[in-house]
Symmetry: C2
Subunit: 330 residues, 2 copies
């Protein structure tokens, strides 16, 4: 019996954007991750995303002993059985659909499971969290949400501003996700989310992936495991334990040129430092207890220490995302 | 002496989007237009605009007895001397620069003189007049305005929402234009502009091109010349006679499929009727006194009848736009 029960506990990291290599897939394997959601677009347009997918096809081919391409929740079960990691594609921006609603179905067919309506800036669909004023989901945004619901691409509002996120929750017929962010009550980063928003997200059946990216953490790199897990407990009180998962935002082995590109794309000729600053422009260092996905074992201990039951902790570490995937992509 | 004075009076229609043909260039020639600003993009991206420019190169070649390509205000003088019409390019949307600020310089080199920051919807740069909420000029919008100022592309806010337009006036180091719209006090169309905005536009040295498009006119197709010219007189009181010109928005010989595309582009799978309606989806009919650009002669009479001096009327009919071009593109 023990083995059957174990089989039902999934470990999922619902946001990674690493400089992919066999070594990193091995780290995820050592961490026993059954699934990861990986970012394959920040600023890329439709054609550029296709190039990124070609690259992923190479990874699936070259590292078939470690990863499989995730398209349905069944691939998470399959990956677990085969002792591999299912890799699901997502976009952190709507740039891949350009200004064409018909591309929503096209990117879905290419494997896109999640799409943020905005990165940090205003998009054609909604407002990003770095804009001064948030006008909410736009005319095109409403249409695209309807189309995403129809074809089965999950709305992700991790980098979006507050009104836009409330609008997305309200306009979407299906629950939405915030794949990687933390609550503002814990650390008031622009990217983090208010209690009211988290409550609305939970009430609507949506999911929050707690982020391990230092700019989203209280005390940054020096954040303690205990502080993180206490934050998880308070967040669970606000939005329900079953609506919380992990979206680590791990950016392993990325050169600083990548964070510079993530922040600046081609939208400015000046230099934007995003969550960093001119004196601190680099990717931040991970906390000691979450250097990579193997830190999931620390999270498992930490969550229980702050009072989560075994079931609740397993939910946060993967089962909640698994259930969300099961409802959405089947 | 008479001829020299005449030479200094220009006739300019600062917005046309016709189904171009020799016949239409002839109508503009009969109307003695020295310059027109033509729309070469509504939803087109960078590559698609290049195709449109190729088409225009064909027109300049085939109809060289009627038109020349306008790149500087000097081309308006040249066209007048040669009894031709100088054609200046503009975009009614920022779609040709996609999400890349570096394309501003590229489109300028391709001949773009005007660029709207938005068509009716939200863009990456600003909010269009059909959105429910106007967040103003975005982070990318500020950067792009600076770049447009640097390379010499004129900001056009004809289809933009109010806060966005105020922002553009404030952020732009050079005066901006509203190439084709009318005042709201006369006809409260979404596309028309408030007195406060017109005053700010005039105070900043910007230009308003009065529109002859029936949806922008009091009583639409049945609008009278007298009503139009009285509106011009009141507008002049608000923003200064020298800041007013004509931007007729003539869409001669366009099939209804074009207005459908202008309104819907690829942003919705539903049908949007813009300024029309389900029962009235077509291009509207022009008023009897402005069937085409030859109506400029009616405007000349009408403006004088409502009290404009000869100099003021000549300003509105072209000299004001000429002076604006002279300051901007030289």
């Amino acid at each position: 019996m023990h083995e059957v029960v174990e089989l039902k506990n999934y470990r999922i990291d619902n946001l990674q954007y690493c400089n992919w290599s066999k070594d990193i897939f091995k780290l995820n394997h050592e961490a026993a991750l059954d699934a990861i959601h990986v970012t394959i677009a920040y600023h890329e347009d439709f054609d550029e995303v296709q190039k990124n997918i070609k690259e992923w096809e190479g990874y699936f081919n070259d590292f078939s002993e470690l990863i499989i391409h995730g398209k349905s929740y069944l691939d998470i079960e399959k990956a677990k059985l085969e002792n591999k990691t299912a890799v699901f594609f997502g976009f952190q921006n709507c740039s891949p659909i350009e200004d064409d609603i018909n591309l929503v179905e096209a990117v879905h067919q290419m494997g896109a499971v999640f799409m943020q309506l905005t990165y940090n800036n205003q998009s054609l669909l909604a407002t990003g969290c770095y804009e001064e004023v948030d006008s909410g989901v736009t005319r095109m945004g409403r249409e695209v949400i309807r189309e995403m619901n129809r074809v089965g691409v999950i709305v992700d509002m991790s980098h979006s501003a507050e009104k836009s996120t409330f609008d997305a929750i309200n306009f979407s017929e299906k629950p939405i996700a915030i794949t990687h962010a933390n609550p503002t009550f814990w650390h008031a980063a622009k990217r983090n989310k208010s209690n009211d928003l988290l409550k609305a997200l939970g009430d609507s059946g949506g999911m929050l992936g707690l982020s391990l990216y230092p700019h989203h953490l209280l005390d940054g790199t020096n954040c303690t495991l205990d502080s993180f897990c206490l934050m998880a407990a308070k967040t669970a009180e606000i939005m329900g334990t079953e609506n919380i998962g992990i979206g680590s935002d791990l950016c392993l082995e990325q050169p600083d040129a990548v964070v510079d590109w993530m922040r600046n794309g081609t939208w400015t000729r000046a230099k934007d430092f995003g969550e960093g600053s001119a004196s601190n422009p680099s990717f931040p260092k991970q906390p000691s207890w979450f250097q990579d996905a193997r830190g999931f074992s620390n999270l498992a201990k930490g969550l229980k220490e702050v009072g989560f039951s075994d079931n609740e902790a397993q939910g946060i570490l993967g089962n909640n995302w698994f259930n969300f995937y099961k409802d959405y992509i089947n």
